[in-house]
């Protein structure tokens, strides 16, 4: 567990115009680790992600990346600092081909040859995606789209990658490959901030866990601490190792 947080949120208050959704969120994302945020539906997890990536401006509080203030920056500026997000809802360019989507993942890379190389690398990592290259992204199945989104995010070499529920809609086999990829990226230096409803899988993958509830952080600790917290387990993680 490396020490200094790469990203720190401090007293963040944010909303969409109808009151505050985040009501003072404070937590840190340790550098070089995988951190998993869990919590009930509507707790504000995705809102946190949006605040970090600059899609949503907080009303109060600060977000810092290595001490540099992020709030007020545009998504492009934040992206240039190495923060990449895979959103929860499907955000592919549906009428463009899968290849064009992947290509756009490297939009900020000026050098075309680098883009070409990265595309190849991504295709090598997810050979299925190469097979769909010529298809319109919107025509893919739900799970396939998810995978393409993930692949698109890998076009850049991120410092911090934000994954909002990567597991959603993926079949077990594909999910494994996505988690493997996340782990691999982490191993090669990227910090990962993950939101997962599949909490046990997510927390197992992570060194750190954050539990959000109703716009605030309820608990933060190591992945195992969170996973084994009795009350949390009952409330949000589907009970403690309950067999169906």
């Amino acid at each position: 567990m490396s020490g200094e947080p790469l990203l720190a949120m401090d007293g963040v208050v944010a909303g969409y115009g109808g009151g505050d959704v985040l009501r003072g969120v404070t937590f840190g994302v340790p550098e070089g680790a995988i951190t998993c945020v869990v919590g009930p539906n509507g707790a504000g997890k995705s809102t946190v992600m949006r605040v970090i990536s600059g899609l949503l401006r907080p009303r109060l509080g600060t977000v810092t990346l290595r001490g540099e203030k992020l709030n007020g920056k545009t998504p492009r500026q934040i992206l240039d600092l190495g923060v990449v997000q895979v959103t929860q809802n499907h955000s592919l360019f549906k009428d463009m081909t899968v290849h064009e989507n992947i290509d756009l993942g490297g939009y900020t890379i000026k050098d075309r040859s680098t883009v070409g190389k990265r595309i190849d690398a991504v295709y090598d990592l997810f050979p299925q995606v190469r097979g769909w290259a010529g298809m319109k992204a919107g025509s893919l199945s739900g799970g396939q789209q998810r995978l393409v989104e993930f692949a698109r995010a890998l076009m850049l070499d991120p410092v911090l990658i934000l994954l909002d529920e990567p597991s959603m809609g993926l079949s077990p086999l594909v999910l494994k490959s996505v988690f493997d990829a996340a782990r691999q990226m982490n191993a090669s230096g990227a910090t990962v901030l993950l939101v997962e409803q599949n909490a046990r899988a997510g927390l197992k993958l992570s060194q750190h866990g954050v539990v959000m509830e109703n716009g605030t952080v309820r608990l933060a600790g190591t992945g195992r601490e969170v996973l084994e917290h009795p009350e949390i387990g009952e409330l949000y993680l589907g009970g403690t190792v309950k067999k169906i």
């Binding site: 990536s53 600059g54 899609l55 545009t74 998504p75 492009r76 992206l79 240039d80 997000q85 959103t87 955000s91 592919l92 360019f93 549906k94 009428d95 463009m96 064009e100 290509d103 756009l104 993942g105 939009y107 900020t108 319109k136 919107g138 698109r152």
Partner: protein
């Protein structure tokens, strides 16, 4: 149908194709602005007239040939487009964005029209270069050179817009922005800049449409009103955002109209619109709709 009718028919078809080229030229900009950016640009007709007046001024005041004058009017209109977008359209967002763009472009159209009245008065004028009515003979019919040039210009501009949209990084960013602004911002696209540039380009190519209109029709500041519904129907018939479709639809529309007007000129417009309805019922996305940047 008599022999005579057959001759007239060929003539009508040639007419339709030639005038269709001019309409295509006026519609390309709208395809970009409405079809791609989803901005309901009610000002398109007025912008055409503005383009015509710019060419007219250059021609009458500085004796610059209208076609060469495009080198000046196109960049000028580009700047006007970018400014309009930057000042007003940029602020619109959310589900009302499209509807509110109608308000903005209507207002901009009113202001441009008002200014044109102030500058040029209400008198009808026309661009009258020396070659304006010269023609050559084809299958026993006369074809005006300016229509040929306009047609070629339309093909050229449509090709250029196509390449820009589908073969360049900028074009990809345009299409991406229009499909999903949030996702576009997440991959690092400056959506406001991209939209402003696209709007600017749409207005810029309209300068060429205006020149073509002004060389083939007399106009005054009010002449834009009759154009807008035709241009709208052309780009929908062509398929939203389909640049090639705009040309195809223009040719279809004007040819049909001119053929019908051999016998029933008073119904020609109605026949075109009836055909439009029928085609759209069977192809709701337009003739070339499947290539549209946006599916439904």
């Amino acid at each position: 149908m008599t022999d005579q009718d057959g001759v007239l028919m060929v003539l009508a078809i040639i007419d339709g194709i030639l005038v269709g080229g001019v309409y295509a030229l006026m519609a390309v900009g709208l395809t970009l602005i409405f079809g791609v950016l989803d901005i309901i640009n009610i000002a398109q007709g007025v912008l055409v007239i503005l383009g015509a007046y710019l060419s007219y001024s250059l021609f009458t005041k500085a004796h610059i040939d209208p076609y060469i004058g495009l080198l000046i009017t196109v960049p000028a209109m580009f700047v006007i487009g970018v400014v309009i977008h930057w000042a007003f359209i940029r602020r619109l967002r959310g589900t009302e964005r499209t509807s509110m763009t109608l308000l903005v472009t209507y207002a901009v159209g009113l202001i441009i029209e008002g200014v044109l009245y102030k500058l040029y008065g209400a008198t009808n004028v026309q661009l009258l270069p020396s070659y304006g009515n010269s023609s050559f003979s084809l299958f026993g019919n006369y074809v005006q050179w300016v229509y040929v040039w306009d047609f070629l210009l339309a093909v050229l501009l449509i090709g250029a817009v196509y390449v820009l949209l589908y073969r360049t990084r900028f074009g990809r960013s345009v299409r991406a922005t229009m499909q999903d602004q949030t996702a576009a911002r997440l991959v690092g696209i400056d959506v406001n800049r991209v939209a402003a540039l696209t709007f600017g380009i749409g207005v810029a190519v309209t300068a060429a449409g205006g020149m073509a209109f002004g060389i083939t029709n007399a106009f005054n500041p009010n002449s834009g009103y009759d154009l807008i519904s035709r241009l709208l129907s052309i780009i929908i018939l062509g398929g939203m955002g389909s640049v090639g479709g705009a040309l195809g639809a223009s040719l279809f529309m004007l040819t049909l109209e001119s053929v019908v007007s051999i016998w029933q000129p008073q119904w020609a417009v109605a026949v075109y619109y009836a055909a439009l309805v029928i085609v759209l019922l069977y192809r709701p996305t337009g003739l070339f709709g499947q290539k549209a940047v946006r599916a439904q």
